[in-house]
């Protein structure tokens, strides 16, 4: 009973901390959304303007950085498909430079190796494997949330739209 009470207290304190951090963030950054519907699309400029969502020049890029975040990787696959359709798969795979952190590193690696798993919406068997992985990753920190419905909601119902939105990135 004692441990259960302590756990509940810990969860409550953690939640309160997260909520307070969220409101402090909103207070300090009133124009920014903490949880956007899709990852931010940024064309970094040498002038330091990192918030522009549209490119200010028409020079074709030859290098790309994929940020981290497991959910974002589905968005990155859409971006990669858009890049290959626009500039050609051979050009993107063989002449571009790519980088990434966390899950983005895997996408960058797959891009340079010319893997077609990225850029094609997976079939049902792949979806089942990803779903199994999703359930497992959710199960580790909080078992109470490890049900199929929640996992599906957090994966395909969301990532499919991310994948489609990704194809519309940087002037593609």
């Amino acid at each position: 009973m004692l441990s259960r009470t302590s756990s509940s207290t810990l969860v409550a304190l953690s939640s309160a901390s997260c909520i307070s951090i969220y409101f402090w963030y909103k207070l300090l950054n009133p124009k920014q959304s903490l949880l956007p519907a899709a990852p931010a699309i940024i064309k970094s400029q040498s002038s330091g303007d990192l918030t522009s969502e549209t490119p200010t020049d028409s020079t074709p890029p030859n290098a790309i950085w994929f940020g981290g975040g497991s959910w974002a990787s589905t968005y990155h696959t859409g971006v990669l498909m858009g890049l290959r359709n626009t500039f050609g798969a051979e050009t993107v795979n063989n002449t571009w430079k790519a980088g990434g952190a966390s899950a983005g590193a895997a996408v960058a690696l797959g891009m340079l190796l010319g893997k077609t798993e990225f850029g094609e919406w997976p079939d049902e068997s792949v979806q089942e494997n990803v779903l199994r992985l999703t359930k497992r990753t959710i199960t580790v920190p909080c078992e109470a949330l490890s049900n199929t419905r929640f996992a599906r909601k957090q994966s395909f119902s969301r990532s499919s739209s991310h994948w489609l939105k990704g194809q519309g990135g940087w002037g593609l």
């Binding site: 990852p39 971006v79 580790v140």
Partner: protein, 121 residues
């Protein structure tokens, strides 16, 4: 998680292969050096070395069951923990997922590894 990531990494980068030679200088992987500080790695000596770096870049401490946390003799972790978007060169397209990292400069000491990694291109 590393069990799953290892599955495709071993398939893409088999032991004894020479894929790392093609990727040296073209692939840039961000990692976090303990206790703080970001670093970008773009040179490897083998496919196994490259796999280790990829695993390290996806390793969240106390969450993933990573086999390897040690790269080039130093402890590393998930690259997102200290990723600084301001260090990404202007000519790079950057697709980022974290609004916090986008608009708030991370309160860590940065090694300015991007300049070192990209100036040698």
């Amino acid at each position: 998680m590393s069990t799953y990531t290892n599955e495709f990494l071993r398939e893409w980068l088999p032991d004894g292969g020479d894929e790392y030679l093609y990727l040296n200088g073209r692939l840039f992987i961000g990692v976090t050096r303990f206790p703080y500080g970001d670093e970008v790695i773009s040179q490897w000596s083998s496919n196994r070395d490259l796999r280790n770096t990829c695993n390290a870049s996806m390793c969240i401490p106390f969450y993933t069951n990573a086999e390897v946390l040690n790269v080039n003799g130093r402890w590393v972790a998930d690259g997102c923990l200290t990723q600084d978007t301001n260090d990404i060169p202007g000519e790079w397209l950057a697709y980022l997922s974290s609004p916090l990292r986008t608009h708030i400069r991370a309160p860590f000491v940065h090694t300015r590894a991007w300049q070192a990694a990209t100036l040698s291109r």
